[in-house]
C-alpha cells in the first residue's frame, strides 16, 4: 500500500531549481529502490543533487526507513537504516554520552545523505569527513544487486559511494562507530576578528589546540574590514565543567510562509550582518554552550530557506589550497564582491587531509561557503566567474551545494570524474541511477 509513487514538486534546500517529479515513500528501501532513479533523504542538499533526471521515474524518499538496527555499547558501533536522521540520533544518544564522529552544520540530515555528501564539520582538521568513519555500507546498486561494501569488501564501490551523491546505488544501511563524549555540553571560545588575514591565521592557529573550529564572516564589509567576522572554537566540556543535567531539545521557531523577495534586500542583509558582528561586542567570549547552539545555530529556525522568497537561494562552497599568504581567500572574496555578489551568510573553515571518498569535497586548504539569493539574470554568471577563479587556484566546489556549475568547469576542477564513472558503470551498466545533477555535470545522458 505504501509502494505507490505520487506526483510532487521537488527541490533542494535552496528551492532553486524546483521540478515536477514522482516521489516514492517507503519503509522498505530495498523494495522501494527497484524502480527509483535516485534516493533522497531530508532534502538538505542545496541545488539539484536530490532531484530526478527524468520525471517518469520515482525518487525514493528514505525518511520512513529510520530504524536503528544494532548498537554495541562497548565499541559504540551503530548500524542504522539510511533514513535515520541526525536529529533523532542526537535525541537518543547525546544524553547517554555518545555523538556522531562528524556532524555537519544541520541535524536535519539522514545517514544516507551524510554518506552521499561525505559531510564534514567543525572537526574536519582533526577527524576528516564522515566517510572516514563509516565501516560498512549496504547498497542497492543500479543493476539490482544488494551489496555490503567496506574497506575490505568491494573497496572500489565503497570509496565511490562515499561522497558519491547517491549515484552508485541506493544506500540502505550505514554502519559507523559513535564516539564517547565526556559530557553532552560544549566548552566554547569565540573571538571577534577584524579582517581576513587575521581570520585565516586565527583558524590555522586554533586548529592546533582546538578539535572544533569555524569562522563566520561578515561578507558585506569591504576594504580593510574585508573578511571580518567571528572565530568560534570548541571542545566537549569535561564533566566538572558541564552542568549536571543533560541539554534539553530546544524549542524551535518556524518561518510561517514564504517571505517576499525584498526581505533580503541589501540594507536588510547589511543590518543583519552588522548586528551579528557587533552582538559579539567583547573581543573574546568563553563558556559552556548548548550543543545545538554550537553545532546547529541555523536549526533554531525551521524552514529558514523560506526567507529567501520565491526565487530561492544558492550556496557557493569551494575549497582553495593553502598558499604562503592568504591570497586565494582574498582573491575569492574580492571576485565575489566585484561580480556583484551579496552574501547573507558566509562561513570559513580550514580543511584537513583529503578523505577516501572518490569524489569527496574537502582537501587541504581553506573552505568558504556563502549563501545568496538567486537572481536568474545574474547568479549563473557569478557562479561561472567564481568557478574560473577556483580552477585557477587549483581548488574545487562542493556538489551538495551546487546548482549552476557548467560541466566543463566541473571537469576542469575534478580529474577524478572518469574513475568514479568507471566504478558506476560496473555496477550500473544501464545507468539506471542518476540525478538532475549527474546529467548536468557528470556526463549522464539526459
Amino acid at each position: 500500500m505504501t509502494l505507490k509513487p505520487y506526483h510532487a514538486r521537488l527541490s533542494g534546500w535552496g528551492r532553486c531549481p524546483v521540478v515536477d517529479g514522482l516521489l516514492l515513500k517507503s519503509e522498505n528501501l530495498a523494495a522501494g529502490g527497484e524502480t527509483a532513479s535516485l534516493a533522497r533523504g531530508l532534502g538538505r542538499s542545496y541545488g539539484d543533487s536530490s532531484l530526478p533526471a527524468d520525471a517518469d521515474r520515482p525518487v525514493l524518499d528514505t525518511t520512513l526507513a529510520d530504524r536503528l538496527l544494532s548498537f554495541d555499547p562497548a565499541s559504540g558501533t551503530l548500524r542504522a537504516e539510511a533514513g535515520a536522521s541526525l536529529f533523532m540520533l542526537n535525541r537518543v544518544f547525546l544524553r547517554r554520552g555518545w555523538f556522531v564522529p562528524v556532524s555537519p552544520g544541520t541535524q536535519f540530515v539522514t545517514l544516507g545523505g551524510m554518506v552521499a555528501s561525505d559531510v564534514h564539520g567543525k572537526n574536519h582538521h582533526v577527524d576528516g569527513c564522515f566517510g572516514e568513519h563509516v565501516t560498512s555500507l549496504k547498497l542497492r546498486t543500479g543493476d539490482g544487486r544488494i551489496v555490503e561494501c567496506s574497506d575490505r569488501c568491494e573497496p572500489e564501490l565503497f570509496r565511490a559511494t562515499i561522497g558519491g551523491m547517491g549515484l552508485t546505488g541506493h544506500v540502505l544501511e550505514v554502519e559507523f562507530p559513535m564516539r564517547k563524549i565526556p559530557s553532552p555540553w560544549i566548552w566554547s571560545e569565540s573571538e571577534r576578528i577584524e579582517n581576513l588575514d587575521r581570520m585565516v591565521s586565527g583558524l590555522k592557529e586554533a586548529a592546533r589546540d582546538w578539535p572544533m573550529t569555524v569562522g563566520w564572516v561578515d561578507c558585506l564589509a569591504r576594504g580593510e574590514k574585508l573578511g571580518r567576522g567571528i572565530l568560534m572554537k570548541g571542545r566537549w566540556a569535561t564533566p566538572n565543567q558541564a552542568p549536571g543535567k543533560p541539554p534539553v531539545v530546544k524549542r524551535r521557531l518556524r518561518v510561517p510562509f514564504q517571505l517576499p523577495g525584498v526581505a533580503l534586500c541589501k540594507p536588510n542583509m547589511k543590518a543583519f550582518n552588522l548586528a551579528y558582528y557587533w552582538k559579539h561586542f567583547q573581543k573574546l567570549r568563553r563558556g559552556i554552550v548548548h550543543p545545538d547552539s554550537f553545532f546547529y545555530p541555523l536549526d533554531a529556525l525551521d524552514d529558514w530557506n523560506l526567507i529567501y522568497g520565491r526565487r530561492g537561494f544558492t550556496q557557493y562552497q569551494c575549497v582553495l589550497p593553502h598558499a604562503d599568504d592568504n591570497g586565494p581567500s582574498r582573491r575569492f572574496l574580492e571576485r565575489f564582491i566585484s561580480g556583484g555578489g551579496q552574501a547573507f551568510l558566509c562561513v570559513i573553515k580550514d580543511c584537513g587531509a583529503e578523505g577516501k571518498g572518490m569524489l569527496s569535497f574537502p582537501r587541504p586548504g581553506i573552505s568558504i561557503a556563502m549563501d545568496f539569493p538567486v537572481r536568474p539574470a545574474k547568479t549563473p554568471a557569478l557562479v561561472h566567474r567564481l568557478n574560473e577563479l577556483v580552477i585557477a587556484e587549483g581548488g574545487r566546489i562542493y556538489l551538495t551545494k551546487d546548482a549552476f556549475t557548467r560541466a566543463k568547469h566541473f571537469r576542469a576542477m575534478e580529474p577524478r570524474i572518469d574513475r568514479f564513472n568507471q566504478v558506476r558503470r560496473r555496477w550500473d551498466p544501464k545507468s539506471r541511477i542518476r540525478s538532475a545533477q549527474s546529467v548536468r555535470l557528470l556526463g549522464d545522458d539526459a
Binding site: 500500500m1 505504501t2 516521489l23 515513500k25 524518499d61 520512513l64 530504524r67 536503528l68 544494532s70 535525541r91
Partner: protein
C-alpha cells in the same frame, strides 16, 4: 509501564513506541510480519526499552490470532498495564467504491477486527489486576484459567485510583480511531463509517468500565504525514507522527478518554459536526 502494541512497526505506532522506549517502558509488539516486528524490537531496545522486546503474530483480519497473541504478551511481561492499538487499514473512497473486496478488508480490520481485539484485551487487562469484572466471571475457560495460572496472587492489587506518581499504573486501553469517524463526509464515507463505529464502541467501553478501573483512551488523529497518507494532499493542520505521539503519551498517562491530535483538530471537527447538511453536501471536505 508494561505496554503491548499492535501496529508499532509503522507510522504513529512506531513514534509512540519509541517515546515509551526512550523513557524505559517495557514493550511487547504484535503484528503481521515477523521480520518487521523483530527489527522494530531491536530498534526499541537500542532506544532504551528494557531487553528483550519480544513479539508475536497478530492480524486484525484474523480474529483467531488475538487471544494467543495477547496471552503471549501477558505471559512474557508477567502482566500488562497498557494495550495500544494503532494498526488499521486505509484506502481512498474511490478505490473502495470500485473494489468490494478492498472495502470489506478495510471495514473488517478497522471495525470488527479492532473491536474484537479490544474485547480480548479488555478481559485480560481487568483480570490481571483482579478488578471486579463481570465479563471475566462470565468468561469460560481460556481467559479465566489463564488469569489464575499465569498471574499469581501477588500481582492482584487494586488499581483505578492510581493517578500520576502511583507505583502501579491503571490498566489502559489506547486505541487509534480517527477524526473521520466524527461526521459522515464525502472523502471518507466507508473508512469514516468504520471509525465512527469504533469511536462509539470505545466511548461505551469507557462509560461501562472506567469505574471498574479500566481507562479507555480513544485517539482521533487528524491528517498525519505517515506512510499511510503518503501521496494524499495534506490539509491545513497536518501533523507529524512524533508530535502526535507526544500528545497521545500524555493522554495515556493521564487517562484522558478522548484525544485529538494535532490539537487543532478538536476545534476543526467541532465546527464540522455543527455544519448543516445542506453545506456538507456542497463541500468536498
Amino acid at each position: 509501564m508494561k505496554a503491548v502494541f499492535l501496529g508499532a512497526t509503522k507510522g504513529m505506532g512506531r513514534a509512540l513506541a519509541r517515546l515509551m522506549a526512550e523513557r524505559g517502558d517495557r514493550l511487547f509488539l504484535l503484528g503481521r510480519n515477523a521480520d518487521d516486528l523483530k527489527t522494530a524490537g531491536r530498534d526499541l531496545e537500542i532506544r532504551g526499552a528494557p531487553q528483550p522486546v519480544e513479539t508475536a503474530y497478530c492480524d486484525l483480519l484474523d480474529a483467531a490470532s488475538f487471544a494467543p497473541a495477547l496471552d503471549a504478551a501477558f505471559r512474557a511481561m508477567d502482566g500488562v498495564d497498557t494495550v495500544v492499538v494503532t494498526a488499521g487499514l486505509f484506502a481512498k473512497q474511490e478505490e473502495m467504491e470500485n473494489d468490494a473486496e478492498l472495502a470489506n478488508r478495510v471495514l473488517s480490520a478497522d471495525f470488527t477486527g479492532t473491536v474484537l481485539f479490544c474485547e480480548e484485551a479488555r478481559k485480560r487487562l481487568l483480570a490481571v489486576y483482579g478488578l471486579s469484572n463481570k465479563s471475566v466471571s462470565e468468561n469460560t475457560g481460556a481467559t479465566a484459567g489463564l488469569s489464575s495460572s499465569v498471574f499469581p496472587g501477588n500481582i492482584t492489587r487494586t488499581a483505578g485510583q492510581a493517578g500520576s506518581g502511583a507505583p502501579f499504573p491503571s490498566p489502559t486501553l489506547c486505541v487509534f480511531s480517527s477524526v473521520a469517524g466524527d461526521r459522515g463526509r464525502k472523502p471518507v464515507v466507508l473508512y469514516g463509517a468504520a471509525k465512527a463505529g469504533l469511536s462509539q464502541y470505545l466511548e461505551g467501553l469507557d462509560h461501562k468500565y472506567r469505574s471498574a478501573g479500566l481507562r479507555t483512551v480513544c485517539v482521533k488523529p487528524g491528517f498525519v504525514a505517515t506512510g499511510m497518507t503518503a501521496g494524499l494532499k495534506p490539509p491545513p493542520f497536518a501533523g507529524e507522527p512524533e508530535a502526535v505521539a507526544r500528545r497521545v503519551l500524555k493522554a495515556i498517562d493521564r487517562g484522558r478518554p478522548v484525544v485529538y491530535a494535532p490539537a487543532a483538530w478538536r476545534w476543526v471537527m467541532c465546527a464540522i459536526r455543527k455544519l448543516p447538511r445542506c453545506v456538507m453536501r456542497k463541500i468536498e471536505f
